[in-house]
Structure formats: C-alpha cells, structure tokens
C-alpha cells in the first residue's frame, strides 16, 4: 500500500508527550539543529565514527562507479563499433562486469556498515533510555503515559536508527548523484544538458507538493486506524456489557462507521498518489522525449556522437531518480529530527529524587524501623496540598492505621516514606535520621510495600514472589505464600509455583493477585511493612485469614495499614483518620469508638448488617459517657 519506511516515520508524529509545554518550547528553540549534536554520544564515540565514514565513502564510490557504465556504452558505440575496432570488445565487456562487481561490493560495504551503525545506535539509545526510565521518579510517571513512552522507545528509536544508518548517507548521496551525473553530461554537451533538464524544476516542485499533501493524509489514516482499534478493543473488553444489553446491532453500526472512515481515508491518500505519481513519471518521461528530439537533432547535425546520446539516456535517470525521492528524504530528515527531540526529552529529564552526596547507607542489620513524620506538608506538582501538617511517631514494631476516603492523603503518606517524592516542608525520619540523608536504595530495601493496584510481572508466580531477592530458597517462598494465604490456590494450579502470570499469562482474580503481592512483601523481610489497601479485593473471610497470617509477620516490624474496612485496622496501635489531607481523628480503635466522628460513622455503616453488635457498642458508649 505505502512504503513501510514512510509509515515508520509517520508513526511518531502525534505523540505530544507527557511534559509541560513551556519546557518543550524552550527546548525547541535551542535544539533546532543541535538534536543530532546532542545525540552524537550515541553515534560518534569509538569505532562508530569510522562506520559513518566507511558508509558514506563507500556509497560515494559506488555512485561514481555507476557512471562508468554509460561511459563504457558510449565508448563501445563511438570508439569500437563506429570505428570498427572490434578487437577491444572483450576488454569493454569485461570492464563492464568488473565495474559492476566492484560497485556492488562497495554498495554492500555501505549497507553493511550503515546497518551496523544504525543497530549500534539503536542499542546504545535503548540502553540509555531504559536506564533513565529505571531511575526517573514517581513524579515523572504520574504524568507520563505508557503508550507515549513506548512510541518513543520503538517508533522514534527506529526513525533515528534508519536516519543515522541510512537516511543520512542517502541524503548526501542525492547530491553526489545529481552532481556526478550533471558533471558527466556537461562534459559531453552542455546545451543538451540544459535542454534535457528543463522539466526538472517542475519535478522538484511536484515532489515537494506531494510530500506536503500526503503527509497529513497519512496522519489521517493513522488516526482513523486508531479510532477503529479503539472501537474493536472496547467492544471486546466490554463484550459482557454489550451482550447483556443485546447491543450487537448498535456495535456493528458503530464499527461500520469507523471501518468506513478508515477506508475513505486510505482511498483519499491513494487518490493523492494516483494524482502525483503518474504526473511525476510523466515529467520525467518528457525529458526523455526532449532528449530524443534535441539529441537526435544534434546527432543528425553531427554535433554529437550516437554513443554520447545513448550515454545521455542512461545518465538522465541518474539525475531524475533522486529528484523523485527528494521530498521524501527531506521529510525523513525532519521526522527523525523530531524523533530525536522526543528521545532527548526523556534522556534529559530531571531526576527529582536522588541520593545526596553525603548520603549514608542504612544497614539492614542495624535498622530498627522507627519512623517519624514531623509536621509534613506536601503538595503534588501543580496541585493543592495533598497532606497538611502530618505527624506520626511510629515506634519500632508498632502498627499505624490510616483511614479516609479516596484522595484524603493516605497513599501520599506512604509514597513520601518511600521517598518517591521529596518533602519540602517538615521532615521524615527513619531511625532518627532524615531520610534524605540515607541512600535511596538502602532506605527502600528496608521497606516493603503492597500497593493498592497490584502489579504482577510476566513471570512465574515463584519469581513474582521472589522479585527483589535472588538468593532465596523455595521453602521460604512457600512459607511467605502460606502466610499470605496464597499457597493453597497456587498449589491447585497445574504448574503450581511455575505458572506464568502477568499480562499474557494466566488470569488471576484481584484477590489472588493481592495475595501474591503480600507474599512478595513478606519475603522481603523488611523493617517497615506497608499495606496500601492490600486486601480490598478479597472477601471478608479470606481477609480475616490473611490478617491472622500477617499478625505473625508484623511482629517486630513497623507496619502501616491503609484500609477502607474497619476490620483491617482494629489492631493498630494508632489509627489516623484523614480527610482532604488533614488529620481529623487519631487514637486507638477502642478510643475512637467512644468519640463521635468519621470513624464511628464508618463503623456504624459497616456494621449495620449486624445491628446487634453495633447497638451493643453504642450502648456501651452511652453508658461510658454517662
């Protein structure tokens, strides 16, 4: 349908990136031509620069050798045939073969070194990007979209690979071809050259017009394809909903519309091609006609030899060929420049959270797990404060419960403790030391988290539980799974702990995933354990069992529990109730039940199923209050 290379370049146009626009704008001003300069550390060091050199020089030689054949043809006709020196024929013929062989050899060298170069550049870039992505802070990921990052790592990277490996040399070669070809024509007849090339400006114009038109058209195709994909994807993911409402006809109609849009955009693009390609071909062909008429005249007048005219016919394609692709190559260049910008944007991203120069290591053997928040106020970038004046003193081995609706700041507390963000007001201490004075790695190694949204990697259940620990025995993995109440269902799987889970693996229920994540945290053997709504997806009975397991695990560790259910929090040494970032209540379960407020309200709602228990509690409270 359309050249693949073209598509690849086009793939990258609509990523707007996850960054602030002012940042992009300021970068654009300085980047302009500097993109490839900034990228030079990926294609210049060591032997890489020689690869570039070899690739370009070999291509130039191959191009120059290509001119020899028309010359040999001229020689054959003028000097051999017309002069009757047939004895030279074998030499001319062998020369043709030799030239072709040498030319193709140089062509191969060019392609080989260009390929190597491009692949090394892609490797280096990908490696650098991956490393950067490993260390970018949560702050970056809050805004970044996976799809956008992926397109930088794939489409943009390939555009750069293609341009540095081949596009660049070919762009240069364009000038070689036109230059060499014109020079050779000039050497034979400057008049004929000028007459022949009269259609050239029109051809160049048409080539540029075509690029300008076809570019937005391809974007249109991509957009309608992505609309079509969304329609199908939603239809399949929502198949239960669709079928239960018997909405198949509606879905077919919706799909037909998108399908039609896609077809029309492809046909629209092909109409542009149908208009321009034959015209460009005609323009090129017309110069052949002009060449024949004018050149024929010159030959008849004996101002030119037949051999020269024949050479001209070969040479003309030398000049016209590159002009066909001029628009494409220029476009290729701007596209890969844009791709380079987007890649650099990631590479130049500031890492917000990093070790301070005098950071010390927190030794696992010495860590106590004493966590203190002292008057911490925190706001996410470009948002109002998420946490106001928050303080807590979690002694080693204590349990802190956090309760509050979505957006109340519970998760912020634990993210700050992990140092996913830097605190600007107040401070957080681990064993009495400000966490900013500890190395991030050693801090995090002493903390294990079970996140609200469970993430399992495409790997075996065993490796998912062992994530973060290599030197661990199977016994310990099973022990952790047992404590997390995951062992039973894992053992029932045909492959047990070797079952591959994750995106493309076996589908597990939300509750099962959570239990694997809990086992993962248990295996870490941390000083501080954080459970962020870790049992939301399991039913009450299972939660109860998990908690019994956890109670054992929590011994000797400082634990933070975030939960909706009162039943998960009741054993905490201190329960903090948050609302819109403010601490509105804090005490033990028993004490909080004696106070009217959010905690008691939540309790009453949750226990309304069992009015007897709840009312019993209330009565006690009334008695207590007199």
């Amino acid at each position: 349908m359309f050249p693949l290379t073209m598509l690849n370049c086009l793939k990258i146009t609509n990523n707007s990136g996850g960054l602030r626009s002012d940042q992009r704008a300021s970068e654009r001003g300085t980047l302009d031509m500097g993109v490839f300069k900034q990228l030079s550390r990926f294609y210049w060091p060591g032997k890489l620069k020689y690869l570039i050199l070899i690739s370009v020089v070999c291509l130039a030689i191959a191009t120059a050798l290509g001119l020899v054949q028309p010359y040999l043809l001229k020689y054959l006709v003028d000097e051999v045939v017309l002069e009757g020196n047939y004895g030279q024929v074998p030499f001319v013929a062998l020369a043709v073969l030799a030239i072709v062989a040498v030319k193709s050899l140089f062509g191969f060298f060019h392609g080989f070194s260009g390929g190597r170069l491009g692949n090394l550049v892609a490797y280096n870039l990908r490696k650098a990007l991956y490393e950067k992505l490993q260390f970018l802070s949560f702050q970056y990921y809050d805004k970044a979209r996976t799809g956008d990052l992926m397109s930088r790592l794939t489409g943009d990277l390939d555009a750069i690979r293609q341009f540095i490996g081949f596009g660049f040399a070919q762009l240069l070669n364009l000038f070689f071809m036109v230059g060499f070809g014109a020079a050779m024509m000039l050497s034979m007849s400057w008049k004929l050259m000028l007459i022949t090339l009269v259609t050239m400006p029109f051809l160049v114009f048409a080539a540029f017009r075509f690029e300008a038109k076809v570019h937005p058209a391809f974007r249109e195709i991509r957009k309608s394809m992505s609309d079509l994909t969304t329609a199908v994807q939603e239809n399949i993911s929502g198949v239960r909903t669709v079928k239960s409402f018997a909405r198949e006809p509606f879905e077919v109609e919706k799909f037909s519309y998108r399908n039609d849009q896609f077809r029309e955009s492809v046909i629209g693009t092909s109409l542009i091609q149908a208009k321009y390609f034959p015209v460009m071909e005609l323009l090129a062909n017309l110069s052949v006609v002009i060449l024949l008429a004018a050149g024929g005249m010159l030959v008849i007048r004996k101002e030119m030899t037949p051999g020269e005219l024949m050479a001209f016919f070969s040479l003309i394609w030398y000049i016209i060929g590159p002009l066909f692709g001029l628009g494409f190559h220029i476009n290729n260049f701007t596209q890969s420049k844009a791709a380079g910008e987007r890649v650099l944007e990631v590479l130049n991203q500031y890492i917000h959270v990093k070790d301070s120069p005098k950071a010390v290591e927190l030794k696992a053997e010495e860590a106590q797990g004493h966590v203190q928040f002292e008057n911490v106020t925190f706001a996410y970038p470009e948002h109002g404060p998420a946490l106001y004046d928050f303080s807590v003193d979690a002694k080693p081995g204590s349990v802190i419960g956090l309760l509050g609706p979505t957006g109340s700041g519970k998760s912020t507390v634990i993210q700050l403790l992990l140092r996913a963000y830097n605190v600007k007001q107040g401070q957080i201490k681990f064993d009495g030391k400000d966490i900013r004075e500890l190395t991030i790695e050693s801090l995090r190694r002493n903390i294990a988290v079970v996140f609200q949204e469970t993430f399992l990697f495409s790997s075996t259940i065993r490796d998912n539980i062992a994530y973060g620990r290599r030197d661990v025995s199977m016994d310990r993995i099973i022990e952790a799974a047992k404590l997390a109440k995951a062992h039973d269902f894992i053992s029932e799987l045909p492959l047990g702990y070797d079952t591959v889970v994750g995106e493309r693996g076996l589908g597990l229920s939300g509750g099962q995933k959570q239990r694997i994540a809990i086992a993962r945290a248990i295996l870490q053997n941390p000083k501080v354990l954080i459970l962020d709504d870790a049992t939301s997806a399991v039913d009450m009975e299972t939660e109860h069992e998990i908690q019994q397991g956890l109670r054992e695990v929590m011994k000797g560790r400082t634990t933070f529990i975030i939960a909706h259910r009162i039943s998960s929090l009741k054993h905490a040494d201190e329960i903090i109730v948050l609302d819109e970032g403010r601490t509105i209540q804090r005490d033990t379960h028993q004490e909080l039940l004696q106070q009217s407020g959010r905690y008691l309200d939540t309790y009453l709602i949750q226990y309304s199923d069992h009015p007897d228990i709840a009312s019993g509690k209330l009565m006690k409270r009334e008695v207590a209050n007199g």
């Binding site: 045939v81 190597r116 490993q134 992926m150 929502g238 409402f245 492809v266 006609v289 037949p306």
Partner: protein
C-alpha cells in the same frame, strides 16, 4: 523437603517470561487463497475489467518505448537521417507517455478502490461474525488476541489486495512482454540473455528465504523487548520500591544485545541481496556488450537496438525481484488469513433457532428445571438446579466462590445453554425465543462496569438508544449519580475513557445503575454490583437499589447481609447444588450452611468490637 534455591544466573536470563507471538508466516495454500478470492467477487464485473485494461495498457505502452527509442537512434545515426522521422518517433513516444500517465492514474485509483472495499468487506464480515459468537468463544481468548485479528491481520492482507495482485499481473505481463520482444528483435541475443533469468530466480528465492527468516527473528525479539518495556513502565513503582533497577538493567542488556545481533544478521543479509542481483545483471550486461558487439559486427543487430536491449535487460530484474517479494508477502498473508478464517469458522455455541419467536413482554416468572451445566466437560458447575421464582420477587444467591452463583445468572441471560434441563421465563423455554428479545428485557449490573470512551451521556444512553436527554437525567437522578455528574467540568458531556481515571469505581458503578434503570428491564440481575464501592458511596446506592428493584423480578449476588436479608428468597448454593432455600429468618432457624456463614461473619466482627 528442601527445594533448590533459585539459580541467580538463570534468573537473570529468565527473570521474566514472554510468550512469542503467533507464527508470522505459513505455507502456501491454494484453498485459502481461493477463499480470499471470494471477497473480490462483488467487484469482478465492473471494476476489475477496467483495472485489468488500465494495467495492460500501461504495461504495453511502457514496453514499446525502448523499442521506439532504439529505432529512433538508428534513424539519427544512420546514413541518411530524416528530421521528419525523428519528429514522428518523438511524437509517438510522447503519445505513449501520455497514455501511460492516464492509465497509471486510473490504475492506482481502481486498485485502491477495489482493494480497500475488499478489505472493508472482510473486516466488516469478521466483526459481525464475532458479534454473533458466544461467551465460550471470549472465555478462552484474551481480548488482545481477538483485537489483533480484526486490526493487524486484516491490515496485513491490505497489501495483497491492493498492490499485490495488480503487481503480480503487471510483472507477469512485463516479463512475458520483454522476453517476447527480445526474442523477436534478435533470437540469438535474446536467448543468450535468457541464461541469466533462471540464475536470478534461484538466487532471489534462496536469499530471500534466508532474509525472511532473519526478519522473523528480529520481529520476535522486538516483540519481546516491547512486552518487557511496556511492563517495566507499568510496573516501575514496584521495581523502585523493591530496588530492582540494576537487576532489571542487567536483564534488559541481555535482551537488547540479542535484539541487536538479530538486527545485524537481518540487515547484513538484506544488504547482500542487492549486490547479488546487481552482479547477475552485470553478467547479462557482459553478454550484451560482448555478444551484441559481435552481432553488430556481423550486421545482425543495430546500435539502436543494442540500446533497446540494454534498457530491456535493465528492466528485467525488477519484475523478478518483485515476484520474489510478492511471494514473501503471500506467505505472511497466508498466516493472517488462516487466523481470520479460524474465527470465521467458529460457530456460536448459543445459537438462535431458525423458528425462534419474539419473547413477549416479560411478566417475570422464572423457573430452572433440573439444570445441569459445565464450562469444561467433566467439571460441572451446576449439578441439577431447580428453582421457581414468582414475578416481582427478589432472590439472593449466596455461596462461596465457585459455588455456581454466576453460572446461574449466565444461564438465565442465555450466555450459555445448559447441558441438560431447561430455563423458562413465563413458561417459555428461553432457547425458543430470539436472543435479542430475551436479553433486551433482562438487565445486569456487574462488579466490573464497562465504561465506553465517549461522554457520560452516551454511556448511560447505552441502556436505551433512543432515550431523550431528559430521560437520561431522570435515570441519573434516581440512582443518585446526577449530583457528581453535574459537578464534572462538562457535566453530562464530559468525556470518559475505558481506563481513564476521570471516574472513581463508585461513580462508574452509579453510571451502570443509571444505564440499567434506563433500559427498564423486566428482570434485573445485580452481580456483586456494590463490591468495589467504598462504604460511603454504598450507603447512597442502597436507596437507589430499592428503587431499581421495585416491581421487577431480581436476582442479587452480594456479600452485604443487609441486601441479602431483605430478599424474598435466599438460595444457598454449594458446589453447583441448591443446599438451602428460604427467607432469612427461616434459614437462620434452620441452622444450616447459611446460618454458619452468618455466624462466621459475626465472629470476625465480634472480635473487632
């Protein structure tokens, strides 16, 4: 029992497991090709003949040009050249070019018009067929694998249907034309040149096969890298919290290196291809120069015709090369079409009877008579369930995971058909009525609500396509969703997305309640509909629920006892059988499984208070 520790070196390599994609190409298969050809049939009468005409016209004119050029050169370099003849040749060639221009323009137009219509038809056919398929089909496939069939697999046929077929014809005509012309012009030289053709053919097909395999390897490695990248971005928080950055880097470096090596191999083979072709063409050129000059000497050939020969031979390898490419393309198309046909051959397991009647408006009596069902043979999910429900009753289904609650509901909606027994609504077997008339009267609200990308209004309207804006707002008010909707930046016109976090879980659930209410079903099913909602929202929903249930037969699966307690009938399921049945008080007095369940919950709660 001590199991071996995880080997660190092995883990570094196999830290993650990525399954490879489906096989990218298949062997050539005529049956499949002819099945694909059916899609061209509708256009075979009007457009295809025009296309063929344009194609032949374009190719023939193109073939004539070098011959005329050769004759013209002979004319001008001859003993008594004539200007008139030169002008005639030039004019003739110009005319051929103009015809070629027109034919080219129409050819590209028709090609794409036919090709894109065929693709459209194929895609539409596939999608419509998938809509007819039953749950069993979707159960065993991840959504992504279905999606890929409708998008990528169909797209990969696009090339075949547009340029592929046309180019095949053009190339054949061109090849035959060139051979014919060469043999006509000069049999000896023509035959001598023909020697290179088989060489070229063998070379291109052999090298191309290796190139194809090499690129397949690249694609496989690339897709692994992509899977890992995608996953490592999504799981970055876990990676950082567990300080696995460096380990991941080591793992990725291995992957990245493998990928580079595959690329190096493929691009080297790719680069070797052209020189091989060029050298073979060079041999042809050698023969031309050598033998051509000899023939000129013996006056069997003219200088002009030598030029014509050179041009033709130069055009020779192009069609041969493209035919090779075309073959690779065809193999990829084979794999894609096989996957597409695999779906088209799937039959819905829940099929409508030919004489299926419309289900009249439901009163709401439901009965299950000795219903047996199994998802997989030998693993029964329902083992003979019988239940009578009067119109307007609320039934609560209680039981552990896997007890058969959801299966019960799936059968009621006829998402599956029972293995034996029957499901009746108002005394009619639901297999005797049309699926649409059944499902449009049965509403279901699920735990994981699906939100389509679009506005909130459109999402609610999904329940009743011709609902007015007023009806939509009414429904939203009734379920208590109106308040949060009007607070959104664009109110009912706020754009939401499937995975976007514009809406909280609770809000999504409220929207799905509004959707169900708008549909006004006669039978309503709530399948864990409030499980993922936080306590405060749930209180709000409770009152909405009452309104929703009023006057309808309803089935509820829920954890919360307050919802269950008020049901007219509580049905306790265990391992696919109804073990208890009655209202709350009766079952509590009975002291069986239900009583046990309630007691267990009590105990946990007691411990707390």
């Amino acid at each position: 029992m001590t199991m071996p520790a995880v080997n660190p070196e092995k883990q570094k390599r196999e830290r993650f497991v990525y399954q490879d994609d489906d096989i990218i190409e298949k062997r050539f298969n005529w049956a499949q090709l002819s099945r694909l050809a059916i899609y061209i049939k509708p256009y075979a009468r009007q457009l295809v003949p025009l296309l063929v005409l344009m194609m032949v016209l374009g190719t023939v004119t193109k073939l004539l040009v070098p011959l005329l050029l050769g004759l013209a050169i002979d004319e001008v370099s001859g003993a008594s050249p004539s200007y008139n003849k030169l002008w005639t040749y030039s004019g003739l060639i110009a005319a051929l070019f103009v015809i070629q221009w027109g034919a080219g323009h129409l050819r590209i137009r028709y090609t794409n018009m036919i090709g894109q219509r065929v693709i459209y038809d194929l895609r539409a056919h596939l999608f419509q067929h998938i809509q007819k398929l039953s749950f069993r089909f979707f159960d065993k496939r991840p959504a992504g694998s279905v999606l890929v069939r409708v998008t990528n697999d169909v797209n990969s046929l696009q090339d075949l249907f547009t340029n592929g077929v046309v180019n095949l014809l053009i190339d054949c005509v061109q090849l035959v034309g060139i051979i014919a012309i060469l043999l006509t012009l000069n049999v000896k030289l023509g035959l001598a040149i023909m020697v290179t053709v088989p060489v070229m053919f063998v070379l291109t097909t052999a090298v191309r096969r290796r190139i194809r395999r090499a690129w397949q390897d690249v694609r496989m490695k690339q897709s692994r890298i992509n899977s890992h990248l995608n996953e490592s971005i999504q799981g970055i928080r876990v990676t950082q919290a567990y300080t696995q950055e460096k380990e991941n880097m080591a793992y990725f470096d291995h992957m990245n290196t493998e990928n580079r090596k595959a690329w190096d191999r493929a691009s080297m083979l790719n680069q070797a291809f052209n020189p091989l072709i060029e050298i073979t063409a060079g041999i042809g050129m050698f023969i031309l120069f050598f033998y051509g000059a000899y023939l000129i000497q013996s006056h069997e050939l003219s200088v002009g015709l030598l030029l014509a020969f050179i041009t033709y031979v130069g055009n020779f390898w192009e069609p041969i090369n493209r035919l090779g490419l075309m073959y690779s393309q065809l193999l990829v198309a084979m794999a894609s079409s096989e996957r597409i046909f695999e779906f088209l051959d799937e039959q819905p397991t829940v099929a409508e009877k030919k004489q299926a009647s419309e289900l009249p408006p439901i009163r709401g009596d439901v009965s299950f008579r000795d219903v047996v069902f199994e998802y997989e043979p030998g693993r029964p999910a329902l083992r003979g369930v019988s239940l009578e429900v009067k119109a307007g009753q609320t039934i609560a289904l209680v039981g552990h995971t896997g007890s058969g609650k959801s299966t019960f509901i799936n059968l009621l909606c006829r998402f599956y058909d029972p293995v034996s027994g029957e499901v009746l609504i108002d005394g009619t077997d639901i297999r005797d009525v049309s699926i649409h008339s059944l499902r449009s009267q049965v509403g279901i609200v699920m735990q994981d609500t699906f939100i389509f990308s679009g506005t909130i209004r459109e999402n609610i309207r999904f329940g009743k396509l011709d609902a007015t804006d007023q009806e939509i707002e009414e429904a939203a008010k009734t379920v208590g969703a109106h308040d949060f909707i009007v607070k959104m930046p664009n109110g009912y016109d706020t754009q939401v997305e499937e995975r976007g976090n514009v809406l909280s879980m609770g809000q999504r659930q409220l929207i799905s309640f509004a959707r169900a209410l708008l549909a006004d079903p006669r039978i309503l099913i709530l399948d864990e509909a409030t499980a993922s909602i936080d306590t405060e929202t749930e209180v709000k929903i409770q009152s909405a629920l009452k309104k929703l249930l009023a006057g309808r037969t309803s089935f509820i699966i829920a954890h919360r006892l307050s919802t269950i307690r008020n049901a007219d009938q509580i049905v306790v399921l265990n391992h696919g059988r109804i073990v208890e049945q009655g209202n709350h008080d009766e079952l509590m007095r009975y002291g069986g499984e239900y009583h046990g369940l309630i007691q267990a919950q009590y105990r946990f709660l007691e411990e707390i208070s």
